[in-house]
Symmetry: C2
């Protein structure tokens, strides 16, 4: 996850605006940097894509929700999803791990590391390096995802009239988190959406190569928030239609979770109009056996607006997505 | 710091051997990976050098020792030192930062981030990206150092008869940590060695280009431990001579600290014999106004042995350097 991606574009940024302000003061342009801070990943000449993504116990995962090996695998999936968001191929990852000292933690840490290694290799990548140190508080890993993209898919390439499409289903991961927090049983399908995110690497490359995707990102902050990132980067307004959202097909999942829930790690892409009628969407679905759903459009303006269920005029959305310093995270302590 | 660099090559690895074992099972070779896990950094074709290095409050630094901006700058210096160890030029860093929520922490976190940014820019690099999230316990950053090296300086290139040379002085950072732990006043010069490590980027490139450096690394784990890394990677034995060690010129610094103290971030390089008599060492000192000291030799065999003060036969060293799961770190809690 790139630095600005965790901010709250649609609402007040809170106390951490001060920190983000520091980043804005940084120089980030040179002939070697093709895509600087501000997209899902950084691109260095000629085609190297780099992203870094922290996963901390108690903030991003809890060991009473998932097993240590799942937590490691999930961190890799989430980090590699940023490469998918750039239309990149995976080369591998570097993993900086910290674990508490003591015999209780050693097997957990070993499982965490094995989960990281196995997930990287399962995705066809290599464990390229890392760091291993002691943690004062729980497991943590920073996963550096390394990939290559000759034609990076940016957030900024959308044009007015483009249609917005989403892969897969939304809201499952957020529903799982809510049920855990409520102490309720978590259905396996929702647990899986949280525990085993699937970076859409091949799907993104296909959408660039065969569907003319002009802008894209991965839904880590929630559809509303991430659509706001694309709107801001492309200098346009996003109109989302509530009735069209591909809500995770489970009765527990709310529209709210489909709209604002983070960490589904599906793709949001802007395609030129007509992908349904000209067969691009059908070709995608056949190729990947995965839904591809039109959820809105881009037009002149700014911000994100929602057409409520049943229709009507679009209403501006003011709430952000999965902000790591706000609501959902606060609930985790 | 690359994963295996934090292990203890000369002594028992402790409970975290299990974790390291997981890494050894990882695939790490492909046509794109020129230098895999096991050196100071990873090298990807054609010339990209990547390293990742965690710095955690309470483990790698304490805010009653140094200021938050110094802690951020130190983390960058330590991470970039791994690029120096590869003879690389710095492109920039990605910084994944976590900070506790709350108004008390916001200014500390902003200073930490500013220290990171300013240090990167002071070293001529760019802040390329990062992540920002909430921490359950203190400040932490994972710094991903990105560089380029056409001729990477590995740990494995030394030959029998090569001489070992060290830049600068050793033991200052370890002495500062000891004095803090004892509650004693810390002299400014020693505090500076801990707080403001200087990655020897230009020095390493010069040693490769003008002094024929055949192997090298940065002294983050302590001379004895890091010499052991080079010995193991090069398939040789290292003989260190206690009387020659360039101990930090302060009466508080012990021989023990010069030999085993970590985090001085000076260079250890293997040069073909005769660098003193043929003028290579003198040229380095004149160019950089920095000591370059012959501390030992490499010969057939394995491990590290020390000629004690006053001379005599070399005696095998069995204790490791700065192991993040052992002695010095344990003392920090």
């Amino acid at each position: 996850m790139e630095a600005r991606a965790r901010s709250t574009p649609l609402g007040p940024g809170g106390e951490f605006d001060r920190i983000r302000e520091v980043l804005r003061g940084a120089r980030s342009h040179s002939s070697q940097v093709l895509v600087p801070v501000g997209d899902d990943a950084t691109v260095l000449a000629p085609d190297l894509v780099l992203s870094t993504d922290l996963a901390l116990e108690g903030v991003h995962f809890r060991l009473d929700w998932i097993e240590p090996d799942e937590a490691g695998a999930r961190a890799v999936g989430a980090a590699v999803s940023d490469l998918a968001a750039m239309g990149a191929e995976l080369v591998g990852v570097l993993a900086s791990v910290a674990a508490p000292a003591g015999e209780v933690w050693a097997p957990r840490a070993a499982a965490f590391m094995a989960g990281i290694r196995d997930r990287v290799e399962g995705l066809g990548g290599l464990l390229l390096g890392g760091d291993l140190t002691r943690s004062p508080s729980g497991l943590l890993v920073d996963v550096v995802a390394v990939g290559r993209a000759e034609r990076p898919l940016l957030r900024s390439g959308a044009g007015p009239g483009d249609e917005l499409w989403v892969t897969g289903h939304l809201g499952g991961a957020a529903a799982a988190v809510r049920l855990w927090q409520e102490g309720a049983p978590v259905p396996c399908s929702l647990r899986g959406r949280y525990a085993h995110p699937e970076p859409r690497l091949a799907q993104a490359r296909w959408l660039v190569a065969h569907a003319g995707a002009r802008a894209g990102l991965d839904l880590s902050d929630g559809l509303a928030g991430d659509a706001g990132h694309m709107a801001a980067a492309s200098g346009l307004q996003v109109i989302l239609e509530a009735d069209t959202l591909p809500r995770e097909p489970h009765p527990e999942v709310t529209l709210e979770e489909a709209l604002h829930g983070g960490d589904d790690f599906e793709l949001l892409v802007a395609l030129s109009p007509g992908a349904e009628s000209d067969g691009r969407a059908a070709a995608f679905r056949e190729r990947f056996n995965l839904p591809l759903t039109r959820v809105g459009i881009l037009r002149a303006g700014r911000g994100v607006a929602l057409v409520a269920p049943g229709g009507g005029e679009p209403v501006a959305l003011t709430r952000g997505g999965w902000d790591h310093f706000s609501r959902i995270q606060e609930d985790m302590f």
